[in-house]
């Protein structure tokens, strides 16, 4: 405990240096938390779309029920289709009303006639969506075909870009914080050079001298991680209502509290690691 006490005394006696070290760590962990949220969120969105191998075919207004039935049989015959659900114009209107129930203006303008009837087709495998959609496109009664492949591949590209950017930024910030902390702790070691020399002359081991500095680095790291995480989490919770309405039914939010705590745990461990590395660098560099 005496190491922690000495470390705490060192921090208290140079508050600006301590603040600088904690702030750079906060910035690093704010970025880490933010990008973690982004990556977890976007991967949830992708999983959602992937779990729904669905092709939607909208029928032309003139499509007859007999033609639609024929098409249904034709689709079943391929063996690639898991289920087909027919959504009539009235059902489509009901769905539309449900989605926009808070907006009476939108409800007034739309009638069943405006909305097309459709098939919601689930395929057994995602890869079959392409051939099914081709088949539907060729049909004379189908006006439009939508399937999720485009959405998934676009999202995947975005996610991978975000991941690369995030990793680059986190690595850069981690390096910056290591060097800034090493410099700050190095300054402190230089200031205490005489004390260190005296302690060595009366028999202090190298580790006796190093421990307070290592502890100091770990304290900076952990405080920075907690503050950075707290800011990012507060931001996420604050933005959750807007994001939820933006994502319209895709189950990304609310974030799980267990997940957030796990993130904090990982960040604290990583911060302690960064703290140890930086102070060790400083100790090796300055306490020769």
């Amino acid at each position: 405990m005496s190491f922690a006490k000495t470390a705490w005394k060192n921090i208290r006696r140079s508050p600006y240096q301590a603040l600088a070290a904690i702030l750079i760590m906060t910035l690093t962990f704010l970025a880490i938390s933010f990008f973690t949220f982004l990556l977890v969120g976007s991967s949830k969105v992708i999983t959602y779309f992937e779990s729904k191998p669905q092709v939607t075919a909208f029928f032309k207004n003139e499509a007859k029920q007999s033609d639609i039935n024929a098409l249904e049989n034709q689709l079943h015959a391929t063996g690639k289709v898991a289920s087909i659900k027919f959504v009539s114009k009235n059902e489509a209107l009901n769905i539309y009303r449900e989605q926009n129930k808070n907006d009476p203006l939108l409800l007034d303008l739309v009638t069943a006639d405006v909305l097309p009837a459709s098939f919601e087709i689930s395929t057994v495998q995602i890869e079959d969506m392409g051939s099914i959609s081709n088949m539907l496109n060729k049909s004379s009664i189908v006006s439009d075909v939508i399937y999720q492949k485009d959405v998934v591949s676009t999202l995947s590209a975005w996610t991978s870009a975000i991941r690369k950017l995030g990793i680059a930024l986190v690595v850069l910030l981690s390096l910056v914080s290591i060097f800034i902390m090493a410099t700050i702790i190095g300054i402190k070691i230089s200031q205490k050079k005489e004390d260190i020399e005296i302690m060595k002359l009366i028999g202090a081991t190298n580790w006796y001298i190093r421990w307070p500095f290592l502890t100091e680095g770990v304290i900076y790291g952990i405080i920075g991680a907690i503050v950075g995480w707290a800011f990012a989490t507060a931001g996420l919770l604050y933005a959750s209502p807007f994001l939820e309405s933006f994502l319209k039914g895709i189950p990304v939010l609310p974030a799980s509290y267990l997940g957030l705590l796990a993130l904090l745990g990982i960040e604290v461990v990583f911060a302690a690691f960064l703290g140890v590395i930086s102070s060790f660098l400083a100790v090796l560099r300055y306490s020769k």
Binding site: S2, D195, M199, K200, I202, G203, T205
Partner: protein
């Protein structure tokens, strides 16, 4: 206990701090190390705690070969030797109590135990009333006693005192010497470097006299016979090698027969 065998120390500047020095000190002895500034007294002390290594020869402390001692064992060696530094080396941002407790803290002695040990030592050197003061608030003699207390707190087998009376008046010097003598009577080997001829003469202890890095005399209370060295000589040495023995630079003490009458030390800065 302490043995130097054909020890030479050549400094980076090419000047010999010590050349071919051999002597041994038995357990429980009280030995004076005398000689003019730059003679090599502090160099001998620094060799004994492995602050520096000799260029040649062997140094043995307590059956430990100091020269080949692995680096990891140096703290152990230093814990066995109490050292009163010429410039005291007290930590200015710690109280007298904390300064004295520092070696115990370094060793990892439990707080209650350390408290008692430090209180005992404080009483022994008569500093109990000053224990919560900072070094800047104390007089030279009190600081000297603080440094001695810190050197004693781990009950070392050997106590090295480098000019412990250097900055003190006659009365205070005697008090310090009496303290060291008491410590010696309890069984601690004491080696004291000094210029103070009165003290050396009246105590009648073994005296090793060094000049220009060589032992010129090693006898009981023989200081007065041999000392002819004047400040001129050491000044000459300084001119040849201005960087040498920085620690002694400000402390050129005239040691001549004529000055014996003076109880303290005459300093020329």
């Amino acid at each position: 206990m302490i043995k130097l065998d054909k020890v030479s120390k050549k400094f980076g500047t090419g000047v010999f701090g010590l050349s071919d020095v051999s002597f041994s000190i038995d357990r429980g002895e009280f030995v004076f190390l005398v000689g003019p500034t730059g003679a090599g007294k502090t160099t001998i002390f620094r060799l004994l705690i492995r602050d520096i290594l000799p260029s040649e020869g062997s140094v043995t402390v307590n059956d430990w070969d100091v020269v080949t001692l692995p680096k990891s064992k140096i703290p152990l060696l230093r814990k066995k030797i109490g050292f009163v530094f010429q410039d005291l080396k007290l930590l200015l941002d710690r109280t007298i109590f904390e300064n004295i407790a520092l070696p115990l803290e370094v060793v990892g002695v439990k707080t209650e135990e350390a408290l008692k040990t430090v209180e005992d030592i404080l009483a022994q050197v008569g500093l109990t009333e000053h224990k919560d003061k900072f070094p800047i608030q104390l007089s030279g003699g009190e600081l000297q006693r603080t440094a001695i207390a810190r050197a004693l707190v781990l009950s070392p087998e050997i106590l090295l005192a480098d000019e412990p009376t250097g900055n003190l008046d006659a009365a205070m010097s005697w008090e310090i010497v009496k303290l060291l003598s008491d410590i010696n009577k309890k069984g601690t080997t004491v080696v004291m470097a000094t210029h103070n001829r009165d003290i050396v003469k009246s105590l009648g202890k073994r005296t090793i006299h060094i000049e220009k890095g060589k032992i010129v005399d090693d006898e009981k209370g023989s200081f007065s016979v041999k000392v002819k060295t004047d400040v001129d000589e050491s000044e000459e040495q300084e001119k040849k090698d201005p960087g040498k023995h920085k620690e002694d630079k400000d402390d050129k003490v005239k040691l001549s027969e004529a000055k014996v009458a003076s109880a303290g030390e005459e300093k020329k800065k």
